[in-house]
Symmetry: C2
Subunit: 244 residues, 2 copies
């Protein structure tokens, strides 16, 4: 059987997240059904990992085995013909038999968009999170440096998660601003539940002066979730890339 890796973009607004759930429609379900309609057989779809309700993707990845002989360059168009317009498969590649979208992943990159102006820009509604406090980008950049490297990120993990280890490696964090739009790009070996959104919320509180610049270091040292800020809204978060 062929093993196919697909890259998927979606606007998360109308979905309960990537993973199938009982409380609403998931992206996974939409993609799985579309593939099955095209290849006319049942498939198991292995996603690179979950994205939460409302989170967007510009580079979600998923793999599946199929007997279909539709060529890889035609697969995206075929699958898309059975998908709603807010989900698009943009690429399909042949992979070796033991490749698995989740277990073969070496890391991920997320982007978080903040529209930072006293009044929200309606064009970015649904695409960026609105922060009306003026944020000090230099403070946020300096504070973010402490996150890079291998750390125990227990203080940045949302509740309700059950993982063996809370140690992860952050490869890089890049904070840039284009007019009123702040872009936080963060890449790492893997991320705990809500980790990116809790990091972003804490950086926002540093940027507006509610937390000191050394707060990130304190959260890493104490591992206390209560030291971090609440979780930043899903609307600004994008799964940008999965590294293989």
């Amino acid at each position: 059987m062929r093993n196919i890796l697909i890259t998927i973009e979606y606007d998360g607004k109308n979905y309960v997240g990537w993973q199938m759930q009982n409380n609403g429609i998931s992206v996974e379900e939409k993609v799985k059904t579309a593939i099955e309609k095209l290849v006319k057989e049942e498939v198991k779809l292995y996603g690179s990992g979950r994205t939460d309700s409302g989170v967007h993707a510009l580079g979600q990845a998923a793999s599946f085995y199929t007997n279909s002989n539709i060529s890889a360059d035609k697969l995206p168009y075929g699958i898309n013909s059975f998908l709603p317009e807010d989900i698009r498969v943009i690429k399909a590649e042949e992979k070796e038999e033991d490749f698995h979208a989740r277990y073969s992943a070496k890391g991920k990159e997320y982007v978080y968009l903040i529209y930072n102006r006293s009044i929200m820009n309606p064009i970015y509604k649904g695409r960026a999170s609105h922060v009306f406090y003026k944020l000090d980008l230099d403070k946020m950049k300096r504070a973010s440096k402490s996150l890079i490297g291998i750390h125990d990120f227990a203080g940045f993990m949302g509740s309700g998660s059950d993982v063996k280890s809370t140690v992860r490696e952050i490869y890089d964090i890049d904070i840039t601003k284009d007019n009123d739009l702040i872009k936080i790009k963060i890449s790492g070996s893997g991320f705990l539940y809500n980790m990116v959104r809790i990091i972003v919320a804490s950086l926002i509180d540093i940027g507006r002066g509610r937390f000191d610049e050394n707060r990130i270091e304190e959260i890493l040292e104490t591992k206390q979730r209560s030291m971090a800020n609440v979780t930043a809204p899903a609307v600004g978060l994008y799964l940008n890339k999965v590294f293989y």
Copy 2:
């Protein structure tokens, strides 16, 4: 009475355009009603000009006279409290008595966004026009230069318009690309009905090789609307700025 100039951003999706019409809800109507609710008196709202159904704005301008003593820096927040989230007043300024948003305007700047990839990006749906043909940006840039200056733009005017003169001045055209997103910025003394969208459609046809590079010059010379392409979709167009 005070004369107030406001700057307005909107997502045009849900509106029949700026100007009040019988066939649906206009942005003008929403803004006028919101101002009246705030200042508790009837106002006449003078827009800088129309935008078509579905066209967005990042810098629409409108002026009105009022007896209200709400300070200019508080007016946007007050008006916004009576507006839907897809329309925002982002600025208010005091102007001299004879200022008029339309007659005092010295020019306008529009931006047109094209998402140029075989498969549309769902994140840009409703914010950019999708062109799946690969566009040659260099050809488009070279061809666009012929538009700069004072010309008779009769060949780039949509039907159903009744103007005395079809001569306008284009100050500048700037075409840039960021990944798959092409941005065409065009500024001028004024624009005829559908002029920006017809120019963009013709540039797209040059970029995909359907028209020769000299087609723009030919349309300017012959003044024949039939020489230009159809009108590019409203979804990619933004009124970016009004110059005073």
